[in-house]
Amino acid sequence: MREWVDIFVLCYFIGLNAFYGLLIIFSVFEIARRRASQLPELDASVLAERSTPPISVIAPAFNEEQTIVDSVRAFLQLEYPHHQVLVVNDGSTDQTLQKLVEEFELEKIDLIIRREIATEAIRAIYQSRKDARLFVVDKENGGKADALNVGINTSRFPLICCADADTIVTRKALLRMVEPFLYDPRGVVAVGGTVRLANGCQFRHGVLQKVAVPKSWLARFQIIEYLRGFLFGRMGLNRLGGNLIISGAFGLFKREAVVAVGGYARDSVGEDMEVVVKLQRHILEEKPPRKIIHISDPIAYTEAPETLELLGNQRDRWHRGMADTMWRHKAMLFNPKYGRVGTVVYPAYLLFELFGPVIELFGYFWFAAGLLFGFVDLNFAILFLIAAFWLGAMMSVQALLIDNWGFNLFRGARARLTLLAAAVFENLGYRQLTLWFRIRGLVKYMVGEKSWGKMTRKGFERHPESDEDRQAPQAPPVTASGGGE
């Protein structure tokens, strides 16, 4: 009996690392291919042509009076021939709207909105006299998903870009992200880009000046984690079958597709993952299916939490979002109708990402208990140490090396060695810490399930997210609003 548990734990770790390894290999090919697919030489003609598809950048904002003006200005300065910025003020209780009105000389206008997606009431729509591309929609509070839906209803452009007001976006982001729509003959429905960590980097007026390794170890571990899980996970999944998530910080979607799947789900915790899974289902039901693509370029930078509490809340929320989404779309599991996404990607996510923390934690406890109570099998112990720690460390190191090869952002021996150390030690403590946060999220989701129902029936006004998300104003810049990466 003991032996079977041993075997099970070992097999899990071997499988987990094999899956990551596979993704990393695929991501190498995919990064090379994405690089080749970029045509920056044609940027000038994309900028000059009238036929370049226009984009609506939708930025939901809730109580962001400190940073809203800078963010909006940054969005207005994106290099693109024809884009507009739709700020959706989600019933802010502070001076967010007033600051916008002052800074951009907003005036009220009448605009006919087709309510293709049901949302909370809109109070007013403003347009800027200074820059006619800026519109601000003032509405009743309803949460980030609802704000995005209002933005989608208001927009009349074929492409919508759903952005977070507090991410730093590179100026050519839209040019790079629109390329698959222009040049991919298979038909593209959504494009995601790479979000990298802003910690330790220097920015000036929103333009990246210098990349450096942050001082805090927590941030360093997160860099490695982002590389392994997010950058390579997503690029690898491009190849493996399809992605289940596009970062909520900056994603470009075809408007009609998002409307066709019903927009963002208001009652979901991880609305950014939920909308992408819905889109995958939608496109996989057509033959031949269109695509959801990730490009390898860094297009946005976001601040990672540097305190344990914030980190915990963030991971907690991401995991709840994932659990919620995967439960809603459980019909995709092992369903050949959805191709490789249903048969390979979804089960893998379920096993390794959703329930993974549980099995892993169990494995650690089993090992520790065995050591403590003396019933450990030596063979198991050795193999476990190798599989859980050594393999994991090698995976992280590999991810770091690929990042170095592919993007070469961190220069200098010292930076590289620091990150190497972070890669090795990430598996000895940090990873286990995130396991704990993720399990907490999972438990919260399972328990919260019942009380969630009560809230919906009452027709709640404030989205429960909004209170939790927005920490005290003294908290460091970004509290990574709503939804995972």
Binding site: G21, L391, Q398
Partner: protein, 369 residues
């Protein structure tokens, strides 16, 4: 110490189950180790290349730019001679990066030298490569530095993947002849409006004569969207033959071609095209009707005011919006119709569209003052 490990090893190996797991783990370790080793080699290679590039730039960059500023001297030729001593890849990439941003006398000299020194030939060869990345990189360089000499290699891209076709078409719009574009357009299949931008960009670079040549071969293009784009471009440039094409186009089965007929009619003058647009307001597809309203707006014909006011009551949102916008462009006659509809119409959607358009025109006037 060593004996302990040996014993452990033997125990592990003896149990079949653990043996299997051990093999699996060893395989994984091996695979990851190999990848890490490969990555380290690649990184080392990359650093070597970066160093070579830095050396190249330190030696040659400044001289290049000062030579560039003097287009008609022999400095550029001298520079190219010196550059022969360096890796051809570095030279090619450097030239492509810089010459993307400039035209004129110095550009022409560089292009000539690029071909003379054999770099273009290398790119032509690479454009036939089986490796997609090599092909695309070569085509991107040819886009910047190609000349008429490269036409055959570019035409051959009609058999390659879509991005290669796009690059080739854009390059040929600059350096090729209209028959090259025809060949590429014949194989172009556009599945969505977003994909049209490269074709539009290529056509906008052509002279009226070249466009006329391509337009005369309208029938050869199977893709409805390509036909539509050609038709509207031809109408904008007032090419001969557009009027004859309009009637059959307006009755085509392909919705894109009908839309193209509306767009084209919007750029023309005369009764025939106006009739066509008014008839298109009754088309079964809303996209055609919407395009017709916008075209009527561009033409600013007072005779269209009444039919447009009718179109305000259309079921489709974009038709209503287009009609309102068109009436807004008609000046006082249109404003009168709008006001009438806004005040008296019992169709709420029509009234709203009219009111919104009135407000928008008002704001436009205010801003202009």
């Amino acid at each position: 110490m060593f004996e302990t490990w040996l014993i452990i090893w033997q125990t592990l190996w003896s149990t079949p189950l653990y043996r299997a797991l051990l093999i699996l783990i060893a395989l994984e370790l091996g695979a990851v180790g190999a990848m890490i080793g490969w990555m380290i080699i690649q990184s080392a290679r990359q650093m070597r290349q970066a160093r070579a590039k830095r050396r190249f730039l330190e030696a040659l960059e400044d001289d290049f730019f000062s030579a560039l500023a003097q287009p008609h001297s022999d400095e550029l030729r001298g520079w190219m001679q010196r550059a022969k001593g360096y890796d051809a890849r570095l030279v090619r990439e450097f030239l492509a990066d810089v010459m993307l941003h400039t035209r004129g006398g110095s550009y022409d000299s560089v292009v000539g030298l690029y071909h003379e020194f054999g770099y273009a030939q290398g790119d032509r060869q690479r454009s036939h490569s089986r490796n997609a990345r090599t092909r695309l990189r070569a085509l991107r360089r040819l886009y910047v530095l190609g000349s008429a000499e490269d036409r055959p290699a570019l035409r051959a891209q009609a058999n390659a993947e879509y991005r290669a076709q796009v690059l080739a078409m854009q390059t040929l719009a600059r350096v090729g002849q209209p028959e090259d574009i025809v060949e590429l357009l014949q194989v172009t299949r556009l599945y969505s409006q977003m994909m049209e931008e490269p074709v539009q960009a290529a056509l906008s670079q052509l002279s009226t004569q070249s466009l006329g040549y391509i337009f005369a071969r309208w029938q050869q293009f199977e893709c409805g969207r390509v036909r539509r784009i050609l038709l509207s471009a031809a109408a904008r440039q007032r090419l001969s033959g557009v009027d004859e094409m309009l009637r059959p186009a307006a009755q085509s089965e392909d919705i894109e071609v009908r839309i193209g007929a509306c767009e084209a009619a919007g750029s023309l003058q005369g009764r025939a095209s106006l009739q066509l647009l008014l008839a298109a307001l009754e088309d079964p597809s809303w996209q055609v009707r919407a395009r017709a309203t916008r075209a009527l707006g561009r033409r600013q014909e007072p005779a269209a005011a009444a039919p447009l006011a009718q179109a305000l009551k259309d079921r489709a949102f974009w038709v209503r919006q287009g009609a309102a916008g068109a009436l807004g462009m008609l000046g006082p006659a249109g404003a009168e119709h709008l006001a009438h509809v806004a005040a008296h119409c019992d169709d709420r959607y029509a009234a709203e569209s009219a009111a919104q358009e009135l407000q928008r025109s008002q704001r436009r006037l205010e801003r202009a003052v």
